[in-house]
Symmetry: C2
DNA sequence: GACCCCCACGTGATTTTATAACATTATCGC
DNA sequence: GCGATAATGTTATAAAATCACGTGGGGGTC
């Protein structure tokens, strides 16, 4: 589902995925991969875009555009909404980040590189978000679409519920 | 999706918004069913709520809250945002309408009465919306959720693409 | 190198979507 | 009727997203 689990002692301040992991490592690695891919494909990972991706990787949770904007300002970038939205458009257009429609927020992609149609699990108590794979077009929806003559180009799948950590809290 | 034309005595396809059907009939029937269910379950289908449902049934497509608000004003109801949002909260809370997260808009439920986890097909060219059944929690997503210990309460499934009518137009 | 053009960025303003807060009115159970 | 509860009306404001327009940097082409 989400990031690889590192049994290392490294504390993970974040809850993407619902698993602990060595976060600093996962950020730098993801950034390098993004840079490599952009170089390969002639995409321009400009400073703002790179920073936004870095912020999302670092935070490791869904951030609203205006939260990102605040962080950009702190980092010395422009602070008007279009700055954030344009970077997010680029990043989501190329699959580096995903938009969580349900939250009007954005997360770094947890499966960079792989073409995939992502599905998200969103905790309604703590807003943690985990990414999973899905293939909605293969199931009942795909059948309905074929029957109706509808041509699916992209799907949004978001499950709302309670994450393991919050279930535990509730039990306690 | 279109307005009603043909008195097709045909299957009116309550499920697929891309099919022709006798619309006037489908509106009044859906309204009666909603009234019946509210009576049965002690829900209060007040004038505003009923009107909003009627409007959505009539339009037979996704409407934004402010579009609804305009129609409400025309009909002599209050015209401040909370009026529309409260009615929509009630209606969507009880499954009479669904929110299309992708469009920040609302549609009347096409499968009233049946408990269901709806999936939507949204035409990116004409914004038509059709409702289908889905069972995302049964597939890869459900598996991932179980593996992660995530408890799914509700799912949003929205497919974006091109509806049959717009495919035809493009071909022409 | 000089030029041009495209793309990205900076900025101000505006539009669209949604909620907070609080007073008033209608409805239900008794 | 009467009190509790739920729904509505209204004002104000917050949050999310886009428009419009000007500036500047980086590659090509010659």
């Amino acid at each position: 589902m989400t990031s690889e689990e590192h049994p290392t002692g490294a504390p993970a301040s974040a809850t993407l995925g619902f698993a602990e992991h060595n976060h600093a490592e996962c950020v730098t690695q993801a950034l390098s991969e993004a840079e490599a891919r952009c170089a390969r494909e002639g995409l321009r990972l400009t400073p703002v875009r790179r920073k936004v991706l870095e912020l999302l990787l670092q935070e490791h949770r869904a951030l609203g555009a205006y939260a990102i904007l605040d962080l950009l300002r702190d980092a010395g970038f422009g602070s008007q909404p279009p700055v954030a939205y344009r970077a997010l458009d680029f990043l989501s257009g190329h699959g580096f980040v995903h938009k969580i429609e349900r939250l009007n927020a954005f997360v770094a992609c947890a499966h960079p590189g792989q073409s995939h149609s992502p599905a998200f699990m969103i905790c309604r108590l703590c807003d943690a978000v985990a990414e999973a794979q899905s293939a909605p077009a293969k199931g009942a929806l795909g059948e309905a679409a074929r029957a109706a003559g509808f041509h699916i180009e992209k799907t949004v799948v978001e499950a709302e519920g309670v994450c393991p950590a919050c279930v535990d809290k509730a039990d306690a």
